[in-house]
Every structure is written in structure tokens, then in C-alpha cells.
Amino acid sequence: MISALKDKVGQILVPGDEFCCGAEDTISLTAHVQPEKVVCGPGLMRSADRLQVCKSGVLRHKEPNMFWMDSQQKRYVPTKGDAVIGIVTSKSGDIFKVDVGGSEQASLSYLAFEGATKRNRPNVQVGDLVFAHFIVANKDMEPELACIDGSGRANGMGIFGEGGLLFTVSLGLVRRLLAPHSEIRSDLQQLVPCELLVGINGRVWLKSSSTQRTLIIANLLQCCDTMTAPQRRTGGRSALIDCPSQRWRM
């Protein structure tokens, strides 16, 4: 099965495609055989002795035996460990309700902030932006967020968002932005200095030297899904040259 999967890496698959457990793999009787395990990521499901594709997209592979479907979608489904950008929607007693774009609002305890105690409550208002990660997320339970890691440190998480812009992009683009050695990110770095915070739930927060620049970069990022790399570079450069604040400086 692994060889069949590896053949299809980088190709387009649609729901209903199946991989059979290998009848072609011969088992040696003399040598000690370590059974090979396949780790299935999103979009792949096991049903009996078959592996089933349940989302359309590109099949991706990571050594040694990890496979998943890379698909473009807009709606976020909470997963444990994901770092997301949420909006605080209500305060009720010990718990804040946070909108993360999933099917249900996530809960965030007031004790899940760095340095927070029962006496020393964090200053959180309705409408604040919060960068947090999921400590509980499964289909049967209410998702739960925390702004501290295992050792009680904030590690970059918490309340943020003074004077920036929050906008949403597709989940596929967010994954491309967060990937190590991301091409889009390095292009952006060369283009203009800016502060960028990316949540895996499709929300991006951006701040740069002027409002116009921020808007241009935001528009550019939102268009990235449908642009090729050269289009992105020329588009970004021409948009920033047209920017009035840039012209004054020149």
C-alpha cells in the first residue's frame, strides 16, 4: 500500500479514491519483518483494510510514512494544539467565550494566562483579540483554549492587537504562510517591513508603518490564492509604488 501511496504523491485525488492493502507486497518468511505503519493525516480515512480519500486535493508525503491531503478550504475545524487567533465575545464568571471561526465557540479560562491567579485577573475585554492554542479539541466536546504552554509561560500568546488589521484568508494560504522556508513570506520580507501574526484558523493580523501600506499588503495576501509567484512579485511591487505615502518620500 505504501508504494501505491508514494506513487500518487503530488497528484490530485478526489473523495472515493481508495488504496487497497497490498496484495503485491510479498512477505519474507526467513528475515525478521517489521510491519510498516502509515500515519494518515487529514483527508485520509481507514475503512476495514482500505485507505479512503475523503477530501479533494493534493496528496502530500513526509518521511518516513506520513500522508495527508492538502486541500483549499475556508471553514476551520478545531484541532488540538493549533495556534489560532480568536475574538472574545463574552465574559461569564471564570470563563471567556472566544470565536475562532469553528462550529462552536471555544472557552478560555481566566487562569490560562501567564501570571494570572485568583486575585490577579487578566485584563480582558469583549472584542479583544487573543492568540491562543487548543488544549481540548475534539468533535464531541466543547473546544478549550489556553494562553500558556505546559510550563506556564506565555510564549508569545495572549491578548494583542493594538492598531493592526485583522482579515481572513483561506486555510490553504495560511498553511503556505506558516510553512518553513515559505516563499510568500520571504517575498513579503523583501517588499516591505511589517508585523504579521498568522492563526491556523485562517485569520491574519497585520501591522505596518502606515494604514495604506497595511491595506495593500492585506489585499495582496488575500489575492495570493489565485496568483502565481511572478504575478505576486510584480503585483506587490507596483501596488507599493503607487502608494501615495511612498511617493511623498521619494
Binding site: 473523495p15 493534493v58 478550504q73 462550529s103
Partner: protein, 219 residues
Amino acid sequence: MEVCGISNVTLRDFSCEQSLLSRPDGSSSFMQGDTSVLAGVYGPAEVKVSKEIYDRATLEVLIQPKVGLPSVKERSQEQNVRETCEASLLLSLHPRSSLTLVLQVLHDDGSLLSCFLNAACMALMDAGLPMSCLFCGVTCAIAVDGEIITDPTAAQEKECRALLTFAIDSKKCRVMMSSTKGSFSVQELQQCIAISQKASEKIFQFYRDSVQRRYSKNL
């Protein structure tokens, strides 16, 4: 089940576009000849308490006619589409959430129900919802002289003796849903199913090609 004498199945030209709307989570427009349908999918989203199902997602299908309000005919089509989608979607993966599928008729020139099904499948795929298989719709009309016309136009539909629409799944080409009108013999029914299965291969290949196009920029 193979019926001899199916030489080649003729379908009208079809075309589609995916993720053309910005607000819904998945959208598509599907055109078969002059028949055209626009579909939008929202979900998995928050569900009303009254409609909540504890072990699976609630799927709601809304059909909007070109003019006026939805009537009994649209309700019956909604039910057909909903039951087909429920059979192919893995709803148990998103319990206590809601999926909404909105289908807007842009132009009706026959084979409307099959166009609904095709647009729905494309939109569900675009939204990235987990599905066990794909499905497509094929309409067959049996003319007065017994000739079987696939993908009929509105004029052909009006003159025909019977009109049959099938939803076919992509895995084993089995019939998932059938909606029939008029009188026909058992043999004719079998023949129509076989023709629809043959036609479905073309549509599934088209689905694959259009997904390929969509992902061509990030291969």
C-alpha cells in the same frame, strides 16, 4: 448489469466554476447546455438547538427558483438532493453542527434535478467536507417511440412519455436516488439505469479534471 447496444451516450456540453463566491465556505456553478445552477455551502457552523442531532451534522438544502417563492415542487427536489448528499457525506464526523446547501436556479432548460445534484457535489467538494464518494445526476427521457434521450432539453422533456433522474455514486456506479415521472416498463428502467451509469463516467472524469485545474497553481 450491462445492456447491449449502448454505443455512445450524448450529453449536452457542461461546464462549471468552483469557489466563485466569497462569502460561502464552498460554492460552484454548473451548466448543462442552457440549464444553469448556482450552489453555495455553509458549514460546519453553529446549529439551532431545535435542529441539533447529537451524533451527526444537520444538513439543510434550500432550492431557490428563478422567480417567486419555493413551492411543493422545489420541496420535493430539496428532499431528493438532501437524501443523496446525506448518503455521500460523512456527517458523523461533525456532530452537533449544521451544513446548509443553497441552490439557486439561474436558468431552466430541462434536466434541472440532475444539474442540482452536480452543482451540489461540486460545491460540497469545494467546501472540503468529508465525503465517502462523489455523486452525479443523470436525467433520461423516454420518447413516445421508445427512444431514450439522455440530458434532455425542456422541449424534449415536454414531449416525452417518461422522465427519469438518477443519482449515481463514483465508487461502484450504484444508484443512490431515483426520481421518475410517467409510465415505463421494467426493461426500459434497466436500460435507463445502464445508460446513466455509462454517462456518469464522463461526468466523474469532468469532476476530476476541474479539481485538477483548481489545484494547478499549488501543485
